[in-house]
Structure formats: structure tokens, C-alpha cells
């Protein structure tokens, strides 16, 4: 059932379904391929466009491979399922059936890193952006609010390139639609980059800190110019990267951006050193990975001195 409207979506997933359902009416080149996940939400669209809304059942290798085939036929495919089954299980299909074939498409994953905290490791994919980042030519969007989904998704649907749109149930209080690194707060002691849903924790952590905060809902391409512009206003080239997925995923980009500048970099994100074997809530998982406001603040104080 589609309950929300295009202007006031209640969740990123609802926004995604609403926008794609509407676009199917006006864009005959658009096709949606599913592997059971969200098929119930696309029932109305599938009834109207049975040739372009395709549920292949629980077959994720085929999901991505057929998406590449749809692109080869000249359509713009939207390929959607839960993140681990979209990016990790059929990773070679992404590498070969999209990138090696030199075609575009829009991959839309749900589940963030640990939306499914109580579902366990099988339903968590904190390595998704790092995996996509190992392949050339991808735009990666990490919206932090449902209202940010629409402009990112509409642009993706209208393009020809390869886009990974990473949706989550974790959201910030306020939407910041826009491109590149957006300036949220200015300070003197360093620059903190918050990606997607971690912005609120970063803002809470830095409420009394003298730092510049940048916000990114698009992390690939990496906004080198935006980072350099922010650094021109601080006393030292100290950069803190806070990402809601694998820690340090964008560290190589930040280091490359600052290759001519003596700098220090702290990366915060989902821990790499061990598998978190716990259930509970996303908030508890965020805390376990050091992504809660208190732990971020402590890390900042140590790093910035």
C-alpha cells in the first residue's frame, strides 16, 4: 500500500517506491527488476506495466544479471533488494554485467548498515559502499532523510550512468537536499564530514566544539573541491570522516584530495576488526561501532587535542 505522497514521504523506502511508480507512468524507458523484496509495494505499478516491473523471485544473481541485460536492450533499469543481497551476494554480476558490459543502471538498496540490527549479520552489509567503490564509474548516494531521496533518485533515473542509492531507516532530524559537501556549521579546529544518517550524531557531538561540519548525501564522486574550500577556513588540516558504513571507506579519497597538504585524518564508521555478534536496535549497533554522539565527541577530543 502506498500511503505517503511525493512531497511528504514518511520513509526513504516509501519515497523510493512512490517516485519510481510515478516515473514509470511518464518514462517508457524505465524498468524495475525485483527479487521479492518490495514486490508487494510495486503491485500497482506491476499491474499497469507488467513488461517493465519484473519480480524474478528470490534469485539475486539473476536480478543483477537481468538488470544488465535490460540496460543492454536500451532500457534504464532500477535494480532493488535488501543491501546484502544486492551488493554482496551478486557482486560479480555488478562487476561484469554492468561495469564490464559498459552499461548503466540504478541499484537501490535498503537496510543501510544495520537497519536490521535484530536480524543479525546476514542482513547487514556495512561493506557495500567499499565494494561498489572498488569498481569504476559509480555515483553513490547516501541520503540521510526521506526528503533527500527524491532529487537524488529523479536525477539517477534520468541519467545513463551507474548509480548506487543506499537507503536506510536511520534518518536525521532535518533534510539537506543538495549536491557535494554542504556546509552545515563553521569552526576553526578542523573539518568533520558527516555522510548520510550520521549527521545528527555528529551535530550532537560537536554542539560545543569549534569545528566545521560538512554534510554529504552523495559520497561518490568525492567532493574534493568542497573539502579543500572548508579547510581554507580552519587553523589546521585536521579532517574527521564519519561514515555510516565500513570505517575508512572514503579515507583514500580524502588522502588523495589532500595529497599536497600536510594533514591528519581520523576515520569513524562501522568497525572492521571483528564481527559484531549482537541483536538489539540500530542505536545500540551505532554505539557499538562508536557512531553515537558521546563516542564521536570523545574521539574528536582525543584527535583534535
Amino acid at each position: 500500500m502506498i500511503a505517503s505522497t511525493l512531497t511528504t514521504p514518511t520513509a526513504m523506502r516509501d519515497a523510493f517506491v512512490d517516485i519510481v511508480t510515478a516515473e514509470l507512468e511518464v518514462n517508457p524507458q524505465l524498468a524495475v527488476v525485483l527479487a521479492e523484496i518490495s514486490a508487494d509495494r510495486f503491485e500497482r505499478a506491476a499491474a499497469r506495466h507488467p513488461d517493465r516491473v519484473l519480480n524474478l523471485g528470490i534469485r539475486e544473481q539473476l536480478l543483477v544479471g537481468a538488470g544488465g541485460g535490460l540496460a543492454l536492450s536500451g532500457l534504464r533499469p532500477v535494480v532493488h533488494t535488501y543491501a546484502p543481497f544486492l551488493v554482496e551476494r551478486p557482486f560479480e554480476q555488478i562487476k561484469l554485467d554492468f561495469v564490464h558490459q559498459d552499461v548503466g543502471g540504478v541499484l537501490v538498496g535498503i537496510g543501510g548498515s544495520f537497519d536490521g540490527a535484530n536480524l543479525g549479520r546476514t542482513h547487514q552489509a556495512p561493506g557495500d559502499v567499499a565494494l561498489i567503490d572498488s569498481l569504476p564509474g559509480w555515483t553513490v548516494h547516501v541520503p540521510g532523510h526521506p526528503a533527500e531521496v527524491e532529487p537524488l533518485l529523479r536525477a539517477a533515473l534520468a541519467g545513463q550512468d551507474r548509480v548506487y542509492l543506499r537507503l536506510s531507516t536511520e534518518t536525521n532530524r532535518d533534510a539537506h537536499p543538495g549536491t557535494g559537501f554542504q556546509l552545515i556549521r563553521t569552526g576553526r579546529r578542523g573539518v568533520v564530514i558527516a555522510v548520510g544518517p550520521v549527521l545528527d550524531a555528529v551535530l550532537d557531538a560537536t554542539a560545543t566544539a569549534d569545528v566545521t561540519v560538512l554534510y554529504a548525501s552523495t559520497i561518490r564522486p568525492f567532493d574534493t573541491a568542497g573539502l579543500c574550500a572548508a579547510l581554507s577556513g580552519v587553523d589546521r588540516a585536521d579532517v574527521v570522516l564519519v561514515e555510516p558504513y565500513l570505517r575508512g571507506t572514503s579515507a583514500h579519497q580524502a588522502n588523495e584530495a589532500l595529497s599536497e597538504v600536510p594533514h591528519r585524518l581520523l576515520s569513524l564508521g562501522v568497525r572492521r576488526d571483528e564481527e559484531l555478534r549482537a541483536y538489539g536496535t540500530p542505536a545500540e549497533h551505532a554505539a557499538a561501532h562508536g557512531l553515537d554522539a558521546r563516542t564521536i565527541r570523545a574521539a574528536l577530543d582525543t584527535f583534535l587535542g
Binding site: 524474478l56 544473481q61 539473476l62 544479471g65 537481468a66 541485460g69 543492454l72 532500457l75 554480476q93 554485467d97
Partner: protein, 232 residues
Amino acid sequence: MTTVISGYADLPELIGRMTGDEKHAAVATSTLDVLWVLYDRVLRVDPDRPDDPDRDRFLLSKGHAPMAYYAVLAVKGFLRPDELDTWATFDSRLGHHPDRALVPGVEIGSGSLGHGLPIGVGLALGLRAQGRPCRVVVLVGDAELEEGSNHEAIQVAGRLGLDRLTVVVVDNASASLGWPGGVADRFAREGWAGTTVNGRDHDALYTAFTRDHPGHPLAVVAAVEPKEYRHP
């Protein structure tokens, strides 16, 4: 070297330009006759219009040992014969696995097994959605069929009745654990029309590729002599 090439009889020499081998290697290529019949008598493709949206699509999923494929493409005008001499060198468009981004007329890059048939399902679905009448023909090997991705595609193509999709399985009995009951059985139980023919018999192959199969995808098992050795 000036060579007038015109047909099937030229393939061994063309293959020899890549392998540096004598002609028996060409004859032993399992896919040679299937490829020839497809490009000579079945597929509607034109080297002058390789991007025609209504062309038939041939996907060489089993991308290794593509010498016969390149040779057929040369005979049919997609490649210059002298380009075959550059085979597998750094600047060549022709490698040990084909790359669609390099060679007009090559529809997919392949080499990792089990990708062509899922892509073919998506391609057939996309062409159907756009009302294009063209065929999609995917060549796989009997050992390649071991990859599970093929079976996801076989199931869905059958259930959705993708009758513009054809799979040709070149069966040289190279699947280590075999296919009890035969390769064709895997397709038949999923609702495909199908037949098993001698993969060296051109007329039998042509008949198999051109039979009516409304409402069902078509599987042609092309049986050839068993593989004599295994690649390392």
C-alpha cells in the same frame, strides 16, 4: 597476405592465424559448427549496422577459446581477417575472452561462466517490453551449466514464456559430475521447448534453431565429441 574469404571452408585457416596451429585444432573446436550455422543462416545481423536496435543478439556466454567466434565474425564482415594476427597482444581488440566494448558485433564481454544466460533473460525481457521482434541466442557449455546462476535464469525464462530467447548448449561432456538424464531435461522440466541434435550437422542445427516454439523459450543441445582433455 591477400585472402578472399567467403565461407565455412575458410574457418580453419582463419583460426590458424590465431593459434598458429594446424587445421585439426580448428576442426576440434566444439563451437565451430554451431557458430557457423547461427551466423550463416539464423541470426539477422549486419556488420554495417552493428547497433541496429532490432538486430538479433548472440551472446557467447562460454567466452573462453573464442577463436572460432572471431573467425566466423571475420568471415561475416565484423572483423578484418588480418586483425586476427594481432590476437591476444596488448593493443589487440581480440583477447582470450571477448570484450563487447572493443569489438562491434560482440554483444557481451564474457569469460566468467554463468553470466550470459541471466543477461540474455534481461535482454529478452527488455526487447519484449519495447516491442522489438528480435531473437536473443545464448551459447553456453555443458560444464558452464554447473553455475547456479544459469538455473535461476532457466526457471524464470520458462515461467515467463520468453519465446524470443534461445539457448544453445554445446555439449562436449565436459561437466565433471555429468547431467544424469541429460542436459535437455533441465530445460524441459522448466517449460522450455527443446531438442538435442548432432552439433556438427548443419541442417539439423538449422532445423532445431528455426522450429516453432510459441510461448516457450527454446533450448538446443548441440552434442559434439567428448572433450579429450581438460584445461589446467
